[in-house]
Symmetry: C2
Subunit: 437 residues, 2 copies
Amino acid sequence: MTEYRRLRVALLGAGAVGSQVAGLLLRHGDELADRAGAELELAGIAVRNLDAHRDVDLPPELFTTDAEALITGADIVVELIGGIEPARAHTLLALGSGADVVTANKALLATHGPEVFEAADRVGASVYYEAAAAGAIPIIRPLRDSLAGDRVVRIMGIVNGTTNYILDRMDTEGADFADVLADAQRLGYAEADPTADVEGYDAAQKAAILASLAFHTAVPLETVHREGITAITADMIEEARDAGFVIKLLAVCERLVDEGAESISVRVYPALVPRSHPLASVHGANNAVFVEAEAAGPLMFYGAGAGGVQTASAVLGDVVSAARRHIAGGTGVGESTRANLPIVPIGHVTTRYQITLEVSDAPGVLATVAGLLSEGGVSVATVLQTVAEPNGEEGGTARLIIGTHRAADEALSATVDSLAASEVVERVVSVLRVEGE
Amino acid sequence: MTEYRRLRVALLGAGAVGSQVAGLLLRHGDELADRAGAELELAGIAVRNLDAHRDVDLPPELFTTDAEALITGADIVVELIGGIEPARAHTLLALGSGADVVTANKALLATHGPEVFEAADRVGASVYYEAAAAGAIPIIRPLRDSLAGDRVVRIMGIVNGTTNYILDRMDTEGADFADVLADAQRLGYAEADPTADVEGYDAAQKAAILASLAFHTAVPLETVHREGITAITADMIEEARDAGFVIKLLAVCERLVDEGAESISVRVYPALVPRSHPLASVHGANNAVFVEAEAAGPLMFYGAGAGGVQTASAVLGDVVSAARRHIAGGTGVGESTRANLPIVPIGHVTTRYQITLEVSDAPGVLATVAGLLSEGGVSVATVLQTVAEPNGEEGGTARLIIGTHRAADEALSATVDSLAASEVVERVVSVLRVEGE
């Protein structure tokens, strides 16, 4: 075997991803050395509890509870603790001591990204985070490097596997949200506390990271509009199917142009996607990111969005990249956020909507509804009226499905409020945005 | 605007891609400077003929016929001439003078890759070639960097837009190869001389590049098995559809393990792909690369495989990467071919096959055919016999569609020869490999 310079890799965390990273690093060490041009020595694994169960059998002598000591002697620090602290402190310590950092920590990057990247810039180190968005799918390098000469117009991503698994099973089985969620928890596709996934927090963090890269703009997490999927019912999914749509939780990052002035919008919500769109056929817990760029046109990246060993693949790719940079010399390449485009609040974002109403089946109802939409500045594209319980007579309940032209979110919301308050509307069944047409 | 260090970019060639690169570089110069951290000055455009028509209006003073002078003063040389010479000489001159090279030249890399990469290594320069395989689709960085810590098991790529366009139209319209080709030429999807595309030469070059990256092995072009699509008929496509398949020209790069010893196979041919496979829904002139890695699992990359402005996106991403490296300092990262796995000749490669025969509809025919297959060591998985012209009587012609288990290519070929020579076989209608099951 060739003699290589030895680089010390410190691993922080030995959970589902960390233990796989350690296992692969030990098992494929020689092969990775040939690729990196450097021997990657696993210097240690910092954990909170030395006796916790690990998914992979690892030499006990590698484990330590002294993360700080491990970090300060390392060339490359792999942070797989997750959450903000102590991950943030460890990351800053690592960068401060000149180590490159590899991280899968979307929460940290989405909330403290600028602080982390500035710390790296100060010492010429690099932060690698291919695993922080869409798991094993290479999406960070394509956005950061391959598309660096292009102008991204729009990203639509299925970036949360749990919600896609739930929505996909609801779609294929006609099952209810609560039933599928319970089953997903039993099968390990959803956490005991599913809030981060089903309320869209996880997707919002990834959206912030992707938008920041795509638009060269710092995107604070609080500017990302977020809605979850807990209100999605089996009925809504069936109705979507009848109209040629599937409901997906999307992370949408969009470049907007208004009278020559550019801005961006970053938002996460369940949306109606046409069945013919490539994102509609992303099944199970898989992820996919659809990118439209001015010159490149539409691109799609597809694969496993989570899972210990899948995410470990992305982490180890970053470790090899960091090692190559160490050997090549030179400073790390910082993040470019020099475009710093303004971020539009959700109220000003326009999309098409589909509004489903239960109305009394009486004369003049359609005219009243149409009048309220028109007053609210919402233009109607399509209307479908069906009788909920057909008895051949007036006086029952009818269902109105209204497809709108593009409308601003705040105008739409106000209009839905006035519809809900109207005497002729018995119930607003659902209001869903349409994406990907 | 921030004051940046100025980097001189020399453009060689102003064809469909080159003129778009120049146009975008001039139009988005300030934006690219912010991303690269360097001003990208288009120092000149070397062409053979100053008066040729260009797709994009460009300042005439940029053009020169003196490529050598332009190259020697440049920091980044963008080679978009194509072909071997003078592209090879210009590339070596550029690297020799310390410039980074960005190239879309698959022919050069597939035939002189090692020479080019060694020249770069000697001076610590870099070669970027995101545009050399699958056009605008980011596939080089994902393979080279994101998957550098993983072990790629298999790549199946639709990497030639012209042949996918032709096969897709044959599939959707039931049209014949010659008719669709003529129409594709009229519409600009195929060249006047379509040999490079329809005979698989273009796909073979891209396969060599992808396999080399994926398996860290130098893959000489002559080791890539290559078959084109000129023998594909409307009948074969219809029969494939009836059996649940679509015919696609695939570039297959595979890691093989035989008794613990690893080797690779790289091959291009039309194959039967199950309609449920993601590659089956790649339509028109689009490209897609399906990658399976040990840890990451299946991944897919999809987008436009060709086109001037699409390919220009990939080229400009490389220009920004090269500029970032110049500013960061350090040497370029060389190609790792240290695994250098043996490349298996096509005869030893095993796949499943579908063999369609026209046989005489007489007693004992099936037994004879089954006997010849068995003698040849080809194991039968499925048989479908249909009467070509059903008249309710024996003595006519029947069609036998035989699906085999995995068989080695040379055993299969020899068996097909003996079938063709048999008295009971009137015609070998088609022999197609099955991929993606």
